[in-house]
Protein backbone atom coordinates (compact mmCIF):
# COMPACT_ATOMS: atom_id res chain seq x y z
CA UNK A 1 0.00 0.00 0.00
CA UNK A 2 1.28 3.53 -0.72
CA UNK A 3 3.16 4.78 2.28
CA UNK A 4 3.39 8.04 4.23
CA UNK A 5 6.28 8.86 6.56
CA UNK A 6 5.90 11.35 9.38
CA UNK A 7 8.77 12.91 11.31
CA UNK A 8 7.59 13.82 14.80
CA UNK A 9 8.64 16.81 16.90
CA UNK A 10 11.11 14.60 18.71
CA UNK A 11 12.63 13.47 15.43
CA UNK A 12 11.15 9.98 15.43
CA UNK A 13 9.84 8.56 12.19
CA UNK A 14 6.42 7.00 11.96
CA UNK A 15 5.56 5.02 8.86
CA UNK A 16 1.92 4.93 7.94
CA UNK A 17 1.15 2.08 5.61
CA UNK A 18 -2.59 2.11 5.91
CA UNK A 19 -3.23 5.13 3.75
CA UNK A 20 -6.56 5.71 2.10
CA UNK A 21 -7.26 7.94 -0.87
CA UNK A 22 -9.52 10.85 0.03
CA UNK A 23 -8.44 11.03 3.67
CA UNK A 24 -6.30 14.03 4.52
CA UNK A 25 -2.74 13.64 5.69
CA UNK A 26 -3.90 15.18 8.98
CA UNK A 27 -6.53 12.44 9.38
CA UNK A 28 -4.02 9.73 8.55
CA UNK A 29 -1.60 11.12 11.13
CA UNK A 30 -4.34 11.44 13.73
CA UNK A 31 -5.58 7.91 13.16
CA UNK A 32 -2.03 6.62 13.51
CA UNK A 33 -1.48 8.45 16.72
CA UNK A 34 1.25 10.87 15.72
CA UNK A 35 2.15 12.59 19.01
CA UNK A 36 1.73 16.35 19.44
CA UNK A 37 -0.57 16.63 16.44
CA UNK A 38 -3.42 18.79 17.73
CA UNK A 39 -5.44 19.48 14.56
CA UNK A 40 -7.86 21.37 16.74
CA UNK A 41 -10.27 22.67 14.15
CA UNK A 42 -10.74 19.28 12.54
CA UNK A 43 -9.73 20.41 9.09
CA UNK A 44 -11.81 23.55 8.66
CA UNK A 45 -8.88 25.90 7.95
CA UNK A 46 -9.40 27.74 11.22
CA UNK A 47 -6.17 27.02 13.06
CA UNK A 48 -2.71 25.98 12.02
CA UNK A 49 -2.16 23.19 14.51
CA UNK A 50 -1.56 20.58 11.78
CA UNK A 51 1.23 22.53 10.06
CA UNK A 52 3.81 20.29 8.36
CA UNK A 53 6.87 20.67 6.21
CA UNK A 54 6.56 18.61 3.07
CA UNK A 55 9.37 16.79 1.32
CA UNK A 56 10.11 19.27 -1.47
CA UNK A 57 10.19 16.56 -4.13
CA UNK A 58 6.46 16.18 -3.62
CA UNK A 59 5.44 19.82 -3.61
CA UNK A 60 4.59 19.81 -7.30
CA UNK A 61 2.23 16.87 -6.79
CA UNK A 62 0.09 18.87 -4.38
CA UNK A 63 -2.58 21.33 -5.41
CA UNK A 64 -1.62 24.87 -4.53
CA UNK A 65 -2.67 26.24 -1.16
CA UNK A 66 -5.81 28.38 -1.30
CA UNK A 67 -5.53 31.91 0.05
CA UNK A 68 -6.91 31.03 3.45
CA UNK A 69 -4.39 28.25 3.98
CA UNK A 70 -1.59 30.45 2.79
CA UNK A 71 -2.59 33.23 5.17
CA UNK A 72 -2.70 30.83 8.09
CA UNK A 73 0.75 29.52 7.23
CA UNK A 74 2.03 33.03 6.77
CA UNK A 75 1.24 33.82 10.34
CA UNK A 76 3.29 30.91 11.65
CA UNK A 77 6.74 31.64 12.99
CA UNK A 78 7.86 28.42 11.36
CA UNK A 79 6.71 28.89 7.80
CA UNK A 80 9.04 27.55 5.17
CA UNK A 81 8.60 27.38 1.40
CA UNK A 82 7.49 23.76 1.86
CA UNK A 83 4.94 24.48 4.59
CA UNK A 84 1.40 23.12 4.26
CA UNK A 85 -1.56 22.46 6.49
CA UNK A 86 -1.78 18.68 6.51
CA UNK A 87 -5.57 18.83 6.66
CA UNK A 88 -5.51 20.32 3.18
CA UNK A 89 -3.47 17.51 1.62
CA UNK A 90 -5.84 14.85 0.37
CA UNK A 91 -4.15 11.51 0.09
CA UNK A 92 -3.80 9.96 -3.35
CA UNK A 93 -1.74 6.97 -4.39
CA UNK A 94 0.78 9.02 -6.35
CA UNK A 95 1.86 10.49 -3.00
CA UNK A 96 3.44 7.11 -2.17
CA UNK A 97 6.66 7.79 -0.29
CA UNK A 98 5.61 11.25 0.90
CA UNK A 99 7.51 12.43 3.93
CA UNK A 100 6.21 15.22 6.15
CA UNK A 101 7.67 16.79 9.28
CA UNK A 102 5.44 18.17 12.00
CA UNK A 103 6.36 21.86 12.32
CA UNK A 104 7.03 23.24 15.83
CA UNK A 105 4.06 24.56 17.79
CA UNK A 106 3.42 28.29 17.41
Amino acid sequence: MPKLTVVTRTGDEIEIEQTRPGASVMELMRDHDVPDLLALCGGSRSCATCHVWVDTAFLSKLPEAVEEESELLDSSMHRQPNSRLSCQIKWKDELDGLRVTLAPED
Partner: protein
Protein backbone atom coordinates in the same frame (compact mmCIF):
# COMPACT_ATOMS: atom_id res chain seq x y z
CA UNK B 1 -3.56 0.95 45.52
CA UNK B 2 -1.16 -1.21 43.57
CA UNK B 3 -0.91 0.95 40.49
CA UNK B 4 -1.40 4.69 40.11
CA UNK B 5 -4.56 5.63 38.29
CA UNK B 6 -6.31 8.56 36.73
CA UNK B 7 -10.06 8.67 36.25
CA UNK B 8 -11.58 11.17 33.85
CA UNK B 9 -15.28 11.94 33.94
CA UNK B 10 -16.37 13.23 30.56
CA UNK B 11 -15.18 11.81 27.25
CA UNK B 12 -15.40 14.91 25.11
CA UNK B 13 -12.55 16.92 23.63
CA UNK B 14 -11.15 17.79 27.07
CA UNK B 15 -11.42 14.39 28.72
CA UNK B 16 -9.96 12.56 25.75
CA UNK B 17 -7.03 14.96 25.51
CA UNK B 18 -6.05 14.29 29.13
CA UNK B 19 -5.84 10.57 28.37
CA UNK B 20 -3.96 11.15 25.10
CA UNK B 21 -1.47 13.55 26.68
CA UNK B 22 -0.82 11.27 29.63
CA UNK B 23 0.04 8.39 27.33
CA UNK B 24 2.14 10.65 25.10
CA UNK B 25 4.11 11.56 28.19
CA UNK B 26 4.47 7.88 29.12
CA UNK B 27 2.15 7.77 32.10
CA UNK B 28 2.25 4.15 33.18
CA UNK B 29 -0.78 3.92 35.44
CA UNK B 30 -4.36 3.04 34.65
CA UNK B 31 -6.58 5.51 32.84
CA UNK B 32 -10.37 5.32 32.94
CA UNK B 33 -12.24 7.62 30.57
CA UNK B 34 -15.91 7.75 31.47
CA UNK B 35 -18.48 9.24 29.09
CA UNK B 36 -22.26 9.15 29.12
CA UNK B 37 -22.63 9.01 25.34
CA UNK B 38 -22.47 5.60 23.62
CA UNK B 39 -19.72 6.66 21.20
CA UNK B 40 -15.98 6.98 21.06
CA UNK B 41 -14.98 10.62 21.69
CA UNK B 42 -15.84 12.67 18.64
CA UNK B 43 -15.51 16.20 17.27
CA UNK B 44 -18.57 18.31 18.00
CA UNK B 45 -17.87 21.40 15.85
CA UNK B 46 -18.90 19.74 12.55
CA UNK B 47 -22.32 18.76 13.97
CA UNK B 48 -23.83 22.14 13.11
CA UNK B 49 -22.09 22.36 9.74
CA UNK B 50 -20.42 19.71 7.57
CA UNK B 51 -22.13 16.81 9.31
CA UNK B 52 -25.60 18.12 8.53
CA UNK B 53 -24.56 18.76 4.94
CA UNK B 54 -23.37 15.17 4.66
CA UNK B 55 -19.84 16.43 4.02
CA UNK B 56 -18.14 15.45 7.27
CA UNK B 57 -15.64 12.62 7.33
CA UNK B 58 -15.26 10.43 10.36
CA UNK B 59 -15.98 12.49 13.46
CA UNK B 60 -14.14 10.15 15.84
CA UNK B 61 -11.21 11.93 17.45
CA UNK B 62 -9.35 8.62 17.69
CA UNK B 63 -10.13 5.29 16.05
CA UNK B 64 -11.86 2.67 18.19
CA UNK B 65 -8.67 0.60 18.28
CA UNK B 66 -6.71 3.46 19.89
CA UNK B 67 -8.13 2.91 23.35
CA UNK B 68 -7.14 -0.71 23.79
CA UNK B 69 -3.77 -0.08 22.17
CA UNK B 70 -3.03 2.63 24.71
CA UNK B 71 -4.59 0.88 27.67
CA UNK B 72 -7.25 3.53 28.08
CA UNK B 73 -10.35 2.06 29.62
CA UNK B 74 -13.06 3.86 27.67
CA UNK B 75 -16.28 3.47 29.60
CA UNK B 76 -18.83 4.77 27.11
CA UNK B 77 -22.54 5.12 27.79
CA UNK B 78 -22.25 5.31 31.56
CA UNK B 79 -22.70 8.22 33.88
CA UNK B 80 -20.70 9.04 36.98
CA UNK B 81 -23.17 9.67 39.78
CA UNK B 82 -21.07 9.92 42.92
CA UNK B 83 -17.57 10.73 44.08
CA UNK B 84 -16.19 9.47 47.37
CA UNK B 85 -13.32 11.85 48.01
CA UNK B 86 -12.11 10.10 51.13
CA UNK B 87 -11.72 6.73 49.48
CA UNK B 88 -11.03 8.26 46.06
CA UNK B 89 -13.67 6.40 44.17
CA UNK B 90 -16.15 7.29 41.47
CA UNK B 91 -19.50 5.52 41.40
CA UNK B 92 -21.20 4.93 38.06
CA UNK B 93 -24.89 4.57 37.29
CA UNK B 94 -24.50 0.81 36.84
CA UNK B 95 -23.20 0.65 40.42
CA UNK B 96 -19.66 -0.13 39.36
CA UNK B 97 -16.84 1.75 41.04
CA UNK B 98 -13.63 3.27 39.65
CA UNK B 99 -10.72 4.10 41.94
CA UNK B 100 -8.40 7.03 41.33
CA UNK B 101 -5.30 8.80 42.54
CA UNK B 102 -6.22 11.76 40.45
CA UNK B 103 -9.66 12.60 39.14
CA UNK B 104 -10.35 14.98 36.26
CA UNK B 105 -13.83 16.43 35.93
CA UNK B 106 -14.46 17.24 32.29
CA UNK B 107 -18.22 16.92 32.46
CA UNK B 108 -18.92 19.71 29.98
CA UNK B 109 -22.23 21.45 29.70
CA UNK B 110 -25.71 20.74 28.44
CA UNK B 111 -28.05 22.87 26.40
CA UNK B 112 -30.33 25.24 28.21
CA UNK B 113 -33.95 24.37 27.55
CA UNK B 114 -36.55 26.96 26.68
CA UNK B 115 -39.39 27.10 29.21
CA UNK B 116 -42.26 27.82 26.83
CA UNK B 117 -45.25 25.74 25.73
CA UNK B 118 -44.70 23.51 22.72
CA UNK B 119 -41.01 22.68 23.10
CA UNK B 120 -41.97 19.02 23.49
CA UNK B 121 -43.45 18.91 19.96
CA UNK B 122 -41.81 16.87 17.22
CA UNK B 123 -39.11 18.52 15.08
CA UNK B 124 -38.03 20.84 17.89
CA UNK B 125 -34.32 20.34 18.43
CA UNK B 126 -31.44 21.17 20.67
CA UNK B 127 -28.03 20.49 19.16
CA UNK B 128 -25.07 19.25 21.09
CA UNK B 129 -24.66 15.50 20.69
CA UNK B 130 -24.09 13.24 17.72
CA UNK B 131 -27.40 11.50 18.36
CA UNK B 132 -29.26 14.82 18.26
CA UNK B 133 -27.44 15.79 15.09
CA UNK B 134 -28.23 12.45 13.43
CA UNK B 135 -31.95 12.88 13.97
CA UNK B 136 -31.77 16.54 12.98
CA UNK B 137 -30.02 15.63 9.74
CA UNK B 138 -32.74 13.13 8.91
CA UNK B 139 -35.49 15.67 9.57
CA UNK B 140 -33.76 18.48 7.71
CA UNK B 141 -34.35 16.61 4.46
CA UNK B 142 -38.01 17.59 4.42
CA UNK B 143 -37.79 20.92 6.26
CA UNK B 144 -38.91 23.96 4.27
CA UNK B 145 -39.40 26.59 6.95
CA UNK B 146 -36.90 26.61 9.74
CA UNK B 147 -36.99 28.87 12.79
CA UNK B 148 -33.88 29.20 14.92
CA UNK B 149 -34.32 30.52 18.45
CA UNK B 150 -31.11 32.21 19.54
CA UNK B 151 -28.67 34.10 17.31
CA UNK B 152 -25.56 32.75 19.01
CA UNK B 153 -22.81 30.66 17.45
CA UNK B 154 -24.76 27.40 17.21
CA UNK B 155 -27.93 29.12 16.03
CA UNK B 156 -26.16 31.01 13.26
CA UNK B 157 -23.98 28.09 12.20
CA UNK B 158 -27.12 26.02 11.89
CA UNK B 159 -28.99 28.84 10.13
CA UNK B 160 -26.28 29.02 7.49
CA UNK B 161 -26.32 25.24 7.05
CA UNK B 162 -30.12 25.10 6.78
CA UNK B 163 -30.01 27.89 4.19
CA UNK B 164 -27.47 25.93 2.20
CA UNK B 165 -29.81 22.94 2.34
CA UNK B 166 -32.50 25.07 0.75
CA UNK B 167 -34.72 25.94 3.72
CA UNK B 168 -36.24 29.36 4.45
CA UNK B 169 -34.60 30.34 7.69
CA UNK B 170 -35.66 32.84 10.34
CA UNK B 171 -33.52 33.51 13.41
CA UNK B 172 -34.95 35.16 16.54
CA UNK B 173 -33.06 36.66 19.42
CA UNK B 174 -33.97 38.61 22.49
CA UNK B 175 -30.88 40.82 22.05
CA UNK B 176 -30.60 43.61 19.52
CA UNK B 177 -27.86 41.99 17.43
CA UNK B 178 -26.30 38.59 16.68
CA UNK B 179 -23.81 37.00 19.09
CA UNK B 180 -24.37 40.01 21.33
CA UNK B 181 -22.66 38.54 24.39
CA UNK B 182 -19.51 37.63 22.51
CA UNK B 183 -18.96 40.15 19.73
CA UNK B 184 -18.34 43.83 19.19
CA UNK B 185 -21.12 45.86 17.62
CA UNK B 186 -19.03 46.30 14.48
CA UNK B 187 -18.56 42.59 13.95
CA UNK B 188 -22.21 41.86 14.82
CA UNK B 189 -23.19 44.26 12.06
CA UNK B 190 -20.91 42.50 9.58
CA UNK B 191 -22.52 39.16 10.36
CA UNK B 192 -26.03 40.60 10.22
CA UNK B 193 -25.33 41.93 6.75
CA UNK B 194 -23.64 38.78 5.49
CA UNK B 195 -26.34 36.44 6.77
CA UNK B 196 -29.06 38.61 5.29
CA UNK B 197 -27.25 38.51 1.95
CA UNK B 198 -27.67 34.75 1.85
CA UNK B 199 -31.37 35.06 2.60
CA UNK B 200 -31.47 34.42 6.34
CA UNK B 201 -34.15 36.50 8.03
CA UNK B 202 -32.96 37.93 11.35
CA UNK B 203 -35.41 39.21 13.97
CA UNK B 204 -34.03 40.93 17.05
CA UNK B 205 -35.53 42.32 20.27
CA UNK B 206 -38.10 39.57 20.21
CA UNK B 207 -38.75 36.20 21.76
CA UNK B 208 -40.67 33.03 21.09
CA UNK B 209 -43.76 32.86 23.31
CA UNK B 210 -44.94 29.40 22.29
CA UNK B 211 -44.53 26.76 19.66
CA UNK B 212 -47.69 25.73 17.84
CA UNK B 213 -48.63 22.35 16.37
CA UNK B 214 -50.31 19.01 17.12
CA UNK B 215 -47.65 16.32 16.86
CA UNK B 216 -44.95 18.23 15.10
CA UNK B 217 -44.27 21.93 15.32
CA UNK B 218 -46.02 24.01 12.64
CA UNK B 219 -45.29 27.58 13.76
CA UNK B 220 -43.59 29.79 16.31
CA UNK B 221 -45.56 32.58 17.96
CA UNK B 222 -43.48 35.52 19.15
CA UNK B 223 -44.18 37.76 22.13
CA UNK B 224 -45.09 40.55 19.76
CA UNK B 225 -47.78 38.44 18.16
CA UNK B 226 -46.10 37.28 14.97
CA UNK B 227 -46.77 33.77 13.74
CA UNK B 228 -43.78 32.29 11.93
CA UNK B 229 -44.51 29.09 10.00
CA UNK B 230 -42.02 26.40 10.95
CA UNK B 231 -41.72 22.71 10.22
CA UNK B 232 -38.47 22.56 12.18
CA UNK B 233 -37.23 24.60 15.13
CA UNK B 234 -33.73 24.68 16.56
CA UNK B 235 -33.20 26.15 20.02
CA UNK B 236 -29.70 27.46 20.73
CA UNK B 237 -29.85 29.65 23.80
CA UNK B 238 -26.73 28.71 25.65
CA UNK B 239 -25.63 26.02 28.05
CA UNK B 240 -25.62 25.03 31.71
CA UNK B 241 -22.42 23.53 33.16
CA UNK B 242 -22.71 19.94 34.37
CA UNK B 243 -21.68 20.54 37.98
CA UNK B 244 -23.98 18.06 39.69
CA UNK B 245 -21.50 15.29 40.37
CA UNK B 246 -19.02 17.84 41.75
CA UNK B 247 -21.68 19.43 43.92
CA UNK B 248 -22.64 16.07 45.45
CA UNK B 249 -19.17 15.74 46.93
CA UNK B 250 -19.01 19.35 48.12
CA UNK B 251 -16.46 20.74 45.73
CA UNK B 252 -16.76 24.49 45.30
CA UNK B 253 -19.24 25.18 42.54
CA UNK B 254 -20.23 28.58 41.27
CA UNK B 255 -21.36 28.78 37.64
CA UNK B 256 -19.01 25.89 36.98
CA UNK B 257 -16.56 23.91 39.05
CA UNK B 258 -14.21 26.41 40.62
CA UNK B 259 -10.51 25.78 40.01
CA UNK B 260 -7.31 27.65 40.80
CA UNK B 261 -4.70 28.81 38.30
CA UNK B 262 -3.43 25.22 38.05
CA UNK B 263 -6.97 24.02 37.26
CA UNK B 264 -7.16 22.23 40.58
CA UNK B 265 -10.43 22.13 42.50
CA UNK B 266 -10.73 22.63 46.24
CA UNK B 267 -9.56 18.98 46.51
CA UNK B 268 -5.89 18.53 45.48
CA UNK B 269 -6.72 15.11 44.01
CA UNK B 270 -9.35 16.54 41.68
CA UNK B 271 -8.91 18.85 38.68
CA UNK B 272 -11.55 20.28 36.40
CA UNK B 273 -11.21 21.38 32.77
CA UNK B 274 -13.16 22.35 29.69
CA UNK B 275 -16.65 23.84 29.45
CA UNK B 276 -17.43 23.07 33.10
CA UNK B 277 -14.36 24.63 34.76
CA UNK B 278 -14.58 28.16 36.17
CA UNK B 279 -11.14 29.76 36.26
CA UNK B 280 -9.34 33.03 35.87
CA UNK B 281 -6.07 34.10 34.30
CA UNK B 282 -4.38 37.25 33.07
CA UNK B 283 -6.13 37.11 29.70
CA UNK B 284 -9.59 37.23 31.23
CA UNK B 285 -9.66 40.66 32.79
CA UNK B 286 -9.69 39.53 36.43
CA UNK B 287 -13.04 37.74 36.63
CA UNK B 288 -13.70 34.03 36.79
CA UNK B 289 -15.09 32.56 33.60
CA UNK B 290 -15.95 29.34 31.89
CA UNK B 291 -14.92 29.04 28.27
CA UNK B 292 -16.77 26.81 25.87
CA UNK B 293 -14.27 26.08 23.15
CA UNK B 294 -12.17 23.34 21.64
CA UNK B 295 -9.00 25.32 22.29
CA UNK B 296 -9.77 25.75 25.97
CA UNK B 297 -10.70 22.08 26.36
CA UNK B 298 -7.53 20.89 24.67
CA UNK B 299 -5.10 23.31 26.28
CA UNK B 300 -6.51 22.81 29.78
CA UNK B 301 -6.30 19.06 29.29
CA UNK B 302 -2.64 19.32 28.38
CA UNK B 303 -1.98 21.57 31.37
CA UNK B 304 -3.51 19.06 33.80
CA UNK B 305 -1.79 16.08 32.18
CA UNK B 306 1.55 17.86 32.59
CA UNK B 307 0.82 18.49 36.27
CA UNK B 308 -0.10 14.84 36.84
CA UNK B 309 3.26 14.01 35.24
CA UNK B 310 5.03 16.22 37.78
CA UNK B 311 5.35 19.42 35.75
CA UNK B 312 2.88 21.84 37.28
CA UNK B 313 2.36 25.05 35.41
CA UNK B 314 -0.30 27.73 35.73
CA UNK B 315 -2.79 27.73 32.88
CA UNK B 316 -1.94 30.75 30.80
CA UNK B 317 -3.22 30.15 27.27
CA UNK B 318 -4.75 32.95 25.25
CA UNK B 319 -8.34 31.92 24.62
CA UNK B 320 -9.39 31.59 21.00
CA UNK B 321 -12.52 30.52 19.21
CA UNK B 322 -13.88 30.03 15.76
CA UNK B 323 -17.32 29.80 14.27
CA UNK B 324 -17.83 28.91 10.64
CA UNK B 325 -21.20 30.12 9.40
CA UNK B 326 -21.65 29.11 5.78
CA UNK B 327 -18.87 30.90 3.92
CA UNK B 328 -18.30 33.25 6.84
CA UNK B 329 -15.38 32.52 9.08
CA UNK B 330 -15.37 34.22 12.43
CA UNK B 331 -12.35 33.87 14.68
CA UNK B 332 -11.71 35.47 18.04
CA UNK B 333 -8.59 35.72 20.13
CA UNK B 334 -8.78 36.98 23.70
CA UNK B 335 -12.00 37.72 25.51
CA UNK B 336 -14.24 40.68 24.81
CA UNK B 337 -15.73 42.75 27.56
CA UNK B 338 -17.95 45.76 27.64
CA UNK B 339 -16.38 49.18 27.44
CA UNK B 340 -13.69 48.24 24.94
CA UNK B 341 -12.53 50.64 22.26
CA UNK B 342 -13.24 49.16 18.81
CA UNK B 343 -10.65 49.62 16.09
CA UNK B 344 -11.39 48.27 12.62
CA UNK B 345 -8.62 46.94 10.40
CA UNK B 346 -9.65 46.47 6.81
CA UNK B 347 -12.97 47.45 5.33
CA UNK B 348 -15.98 46.31 7.38
CA UNK B 349 -18.08 46.60 4.22
CA UNK B 350 -15.85 44.15 2.37
CA UNK B 351 -15.82 40.38 2.62
CA UNK B 352 -13.06 40.42 5.22
CA UNK B 353 -12.10 42.60 8.16
CA UNK B 354 -10.82 42.50 11.71
CA UNK B 355 -11.88 44.34 14.84
CA UNK B 356 -9.23 45.02 17.48
CA UNK B 357 -10.64 45.68 20.94
CA UNK B 358 -8.66 47.72 23.45
CA UNK B 359 -9.34 47.86 27.16
CA UNK B 360 -7.63 50.78 28.92
CA UNK B 361 -5.41 51.25 25.87
CA UNK B 362 -4.25 47.62 25.90
CA UNK B 363 -5.16 45.02 23.32
CA UNK B 364 -7.80 42.71 24.85
CA UNK B 365 -9.43 40.86 22.02
CA UNK B 366 -9.33 40.55 18.23
CA UNK B 367 -12.25 39.43 16.09
CA UNK B 368 -11.60 38.52 12.49
CA UNK B 369 -13.90 37.78 9.62
CA UNK B 370 -12.20 35.83 6.82
CA UNK B 371 -8.78 37.11 7.93
CA UNK B 372 -7.16 34.06 9.52
CA UNK B 373 -3.69 35.59 9.46
CA UNK B 374 -4.80 38.50 11.66
CA UNK B 375 -6.28 35.96 14.01
CA UNK B 376 -3.10 33.94 14.29
CA UNK B 377 -1.04 37.07 14.85
CA UNK B 378 -3.52 38.35 17.40
CA UNK B 379 -3.05 35.23 19.48
CA UNK B 380 0.65 35.84 19.60
CA UNK B 381 0.32 39.57 20.21
CA UNK B 382 -1.89 38.78 23.21
CA UNK B 383 0.40 36.05 24.51
CA UNK B 384 3.41 38.37 24.24
CA UNK B 385 1.48 41.35 25.62
CA UNK B 386 2.81 43.26 22.63
CA UNK B 387 2.40 47.02 22.90
CA UNK B 388 0.12 47.49 19.91
CA UNK B 389 -1.53 50.90 19.80
CA UNK B 390 -5.02 51.56 18.42
CA UNK B 391 -3.47 53.70 15.67
CA UNK B 392 -1.17 50.91 14.57
CA UNK B 393 -4.06 48.44 14.55
CA UNK B 394 -6.11 50.73 12.36
CA UNK B 395 -3.30 51.23 9.85
CA UNK B 396 -3.51 48.40 7.27
CA UNK B 397 0.08 49.02 6.20
CA UNK B 398 1.42 48.51 9.73
CA UNK B 399 3.11 45.10 9.96
CA UNK B 400 1.70 43.37 13.05
CA UNK B 401 4.51 40.84 12.94
CA UNK B 402 7.04 43.60 13.62
CA UNK B 403 5.88 43.72 17.25
CA UNK B 404 6.68 40.09 17.84
CA UNK B 405 10.00 38.63 18.85
CA UNK B 406 11.30 36.07 16.39
CA UNK B 407 12.22 33.12 18.54
CA UNK B 408 13.79 30.13 16.92
CA UNK B 409 11.91 27.84 19.24
CA UNK B 410 8.31 27.51 20.15
CA UNK B 411 6.23 30.12 21.89
CA UNK B 412 5.21 28.64 25.17
CA UNK B 413 1.70 29.98 25.49
CA UNK B 414 -0.18 27.78 23.05
Amino acid sequence: MAQPSVAIIGAGQAGLQVAVSLREQHYEGRIALIGDEPHVPYARPPLSKAYLLGEAGDLALRPQTYFAQHRIDLIAGKRAVAIDRTRRMVGLDDESVIEYDHLVLATGARNRSLPIPGVELGNVFLLRTLDEAALLRERMAAAKNVVVIGAGFIGLEFAATATKLGANVTVLDVADRPMARALSKTMSAVFTREHEKTGVRLMFNTQAMRLLGEQCVTAVETVDGKILPADLVLIGIGVIPNVEVAATCNLTVENGIVVDEFLQTSDPHISSIGDVAAFSNRHLGGGRVRLESVQNASDQARCVAARIMGQPDAYDAVPWFWSTQGSLKLQMAGLPSSGCEEVVRGDPNASKCSVFLFRDGKLACVETHNRPADHMLARRLLAERAALTPDQAADPTFDLKSLLPRPAARVAAA
